[in-house]
């Protein structure tokens, strides 16, 4: 299918025109138009923060666009709510799984539309047969009478896909559906998508993996910084062209300058054959003083597990975590006292006390060295720490909740700047942080390494890694799969390294 179909008179399954959306301080989408005809699989590519999730939220009615409009099968999405979108047949398979573990597969599939008998009661048998029939149609090999919680993660995802398609779907939005799937499970998913396409369902397929785009999609759209930069038929393009659009080739992405790194020293931390929940193979890793070590990998690839192992927040099942050659403390509080700082990925949930003041957030854990709390002194100390962290506010009369994302992150940093920590582990340090604050944070991290601190950054932002890292360890599916030099790597290389199936394919050829 090519662009000429636009003029062929076929009514678009979903048609969004000139959609723009801005959040306070950030423009998320600028004038994006997208059109899916029935039975079309349309891939949506873009880096993290390119505007993919905002577009999904607008198409599914969760967010209202500032400008532009969305039409589903020729009808306006009005009022712009999730209920309207669902009624018009727009279905979303979200990234996170939402399976009710204690219900049967059948109940999970039919949830929200359980078939009832004449008396208004739910018949278990009717539910099971209806669900099984639907699963069979989709080609999902799962027994509907099983307890959903007993299924593998991949099966649960397919059950969820069956649920969103249990009632006729006109447009199906799949948000990185293969993030937690292994090779053959991906094939099952592809099979389901192809069957749905054959029945006339349009699929908007969001992915990080180019080979999936080529295997599945008819059309492809690339977003970058909230704008549509490329839209073409998959048959008319190739991987290199797409990559060049995903990453701004014209953008200056020179590495940040830094002091030359001292010769290799003894590692300050090391993982030796560590296995733990979230990892599929033993991990060996060394962290050296004065370096920025990046762990690159998508969500669910085990990078967060490694970060938590280093920080003492997760215990190894086998293997050893070493700190300066000796076994590291086995508790998070012990590790923190031993000088291992941790900046979690979910800042609001795990990094901050949202309703408390700046100074209370800074003086938490080992940072609070005195048993006595003096509010005025604590506040003044917090101001100094935040100035060192280059925060632009020190207003203690408001809760941390009211700060901007960048300043919130600096409060979390400040907690570790206030202690003498030798290792700082950061999980997605610039998620939800605006671009200016982002570079200030990078600069700060490099200053810290210049002072001899070891910095471990978990990130799925390739440009961040290539700008910042001395060394990059790539993780896929719960194991370390590659190590590259941070100074010479490019976002394109990292992007390619994270698609093991693609690489395997190339090797097989």
């Amino acid at each position: 299918m090519t662009d000429s179909n636009d003029q062929s008179g076929k009514t678009a399954a979903i048609d969004c025109r000139g959609v723009s959306k801005a959040y306070p301080g950030v423009t998320a989408l600028t004038d994006v138009s997208l059109r899916l005809v029935p039975g079309e699989v349309h891939a949506l590519l873009g880096e993290n923060g390119a505007g993919k999730s905002t577009l999904v939220k607008i198409l599914t009615g969760v967010e209202r666009p500032d400008r532009g409009h969305v039409r589903v099968a020729g009808r306006d999405l009005h009022p712009h709510t999730p209920v309207t979108a669902r009624r018009l047949g727009v279905r979303l398979l979200p990234q996170e799984r939402h399976v009710a573990p204690d219900l049967s597969v059948a109940e999970n599939v039919m949830l929200g539309g359980l078939p009832r008998t004449g008396l208004g009661l739910v018949s278990g048998r009717a539910v099971r047969s209806a669900a099984q029939q639907h699963l069979d149609t989709l080609g999902v090999d799962v027994d509907a009478s099983y307890r959903a919680g007993d299924l593998t993660a991949a099966q649960q995802q397919l059950v969820e896909l069956a649920r969103v398609t249990a009632r006729p779907a006109r447009v199906l939005v799949l948000d990185e559906p293969t993030a937690s799937l292994a090779g053959d499970e991906v094939e099952v998913l592809f099979g389901v998508v192809r069957r749905l396409r054959a029945t006339g369902t349009s699929v908007l397929y969001i992915s990080h993996h180019l080979h999936e785009v080529f295997a599945l999609a008819d059309q492809v759209t690339v977003l970058r910084n909230g704008s549509l930069v490329h839209q073409t038929s998959v048959a008319d393009t190739d991987a290199e062209t797409l990559l060049s659009h995903v990453f701004a080739a014209d953008l200056d992405r020179g590495r940040l300058d830094r002091a030359p790194r001292a010769a290799r020293t003894e590692p300050v931390m090391a993982l030796r054959g560590v296995t733990a929940p979230g990892l599929s193979a033993p991990v060996n890793l060394e962290v050296h003083p004065g370096e920025v070590l990046a762990l690159s990998g998508p969500a669910g690839s085990g990078t967060t597990a490694v970060a938590e192992l280093l920080a003492g927040a997760r215990r190894p099942v086998t293997g050893q975590v070493l700190l300066r050659g000796a076994p590291a403390p086995r508790t998070r509080s012990g590790a923190a006292s031993a000088g291992i700082g941790f900046v979690p990925a979910d800042r609001k949930r795990d990094g901050l006390l949202l309703e408390r003041s700046i100074s209370e957030n800074v003086w938490l854990g080992p940072a609070a060295t005195s048993w006595l709390h003096r509010p005025r002194r604590a506040h003044e100390g917090a101001c100094r720490v935040l100035a060192a962290a280059r925060a632009s506010t020190t207003d203690s009369t408001r809760p941390v909740r009211s700060l901007s994302g960048g300043n919130q992150q600096r409060v979390v940093f400040g907690r570790w700047l206030a202690t003498s920590c030798s290792v700082l582990v950061l999980d997605q340090p610039t998620a939800g942080v605006d671009i200016g604050a982002k570079f200030a944070i990078y600069r700060q991290l490099l200053d810290l390494t210049a002072q001899g601190m070891a910095v471990v950054v978990v990130s799925s932002d390739y440009e961040e890694i290539s700008a910042l890292a001395d060394r990059v360890v790539v993780m896929t599916a719960g194991r370390t799969s590659a190590e590259v030099d941070g100074a010479s790597t490019t976002p394109e290389e990292l992007f390619a390294l994270e698609s093991p199936t693609e690489r395997d394919l190339q090797e097989a050829l």
């Binding site: 901050l352 006390l353 938490l364 060295t369 005195s370 002194r377 100390g381 202690t419 003498s420």
Partner: protein
Amino acid sequence: MSSNSLTRASSTETGTAAEAGVAVPTRTPARLQFTTVAAARSIVPLLVVVVVLSWVTGSQNPAFLTSVNAQNVLAQVAVLGILAVGQTFLVVGGQIDLSVGSLVSLVGVVAARCFADGWSTPAVVVLALAIGAATGLVWGTAVALLDVPPFILTLGGLSVLGSLALVLSDNTPVPVRDGLSSWGFGTWGPLRTPVAMLLLVVVLGALLLHFTRFGRTTFALGSSRSTTFLAGVPVKRHLVLLYVGNSTLAAFAGLLMMARIASGDPRAGLGLELSVIAVVVLGGATLAGGRGTVVGTFAGVLVLGVVSASLTFLQVPGAFQSLVSGGILVLAVVATALAERRAGGSGTAGWAGALRRSLPRLKRT
């Protein structure tokens, strides 16, 4: 709250100074900390209720507004107040202990029997506090290590301890001749001993909760357990300490209760946990944790004390008393929820407006 005068008074070195050696003109906050403002918002209406109610009752019966009666009112709520201070720590830390009422009964019965067996006063006090500490250790370890929901756990404890009190006393109050009578009927200077003890516990509790690392950690724990854990606070140890401290304080309250009624009554603490939770919530704490003050709790205790004393003075039948304490709790939580909804969940405890609207109703009772 006296937080600011205390802050200014402190000028010595502190260990919390930052390593960051950047010289910064420290900006003096022009306004009070938002948490202080929020606390004041919940406390001031309570004090208004206390003053207005005292004035109304006093105009009906002048004997109400005398210092003797003021001490009577405070002595009446001494046990409740001490329990409420301990419970404030738990609620601020996102925890709850429903077993304190039964613990008061149990400790009273055990102490009374020990006195009857001729134990010395120090031995009885030590045993009583040890019973409290042991109880708290059980709750604390179960909550910290096994992640048992404290509500269900201590609800079970409420029955178990209450039943133990009945068993050990053969279902009848154990009379006490003179054990600890100085606690119940003595004086400390101008104050009656229970009143002095209550005030001492309130002051020490306020200092511990608001001006020590232990107290700040408690707030952090109640605000976000995962944040507190990842920041490197030994969360489990802190939980155990919270429960041990609270139960030990409750055992102390149990001794005071026994001394005041001069008997080990197995039903002395019946329903007390309800009033304790009521005054803590009334004082501005939220059961979700992370919010509350000792001063607010004390204001809540005063409201409950003045309300029930007024009912007595105005010769309202005793059967209405629980109706009032329960009613106050319902009003407080509904008012809080309304204010939160109005504020869109964005922030500080500002249920003053809601309480203000409900004031006429309170006054009518």
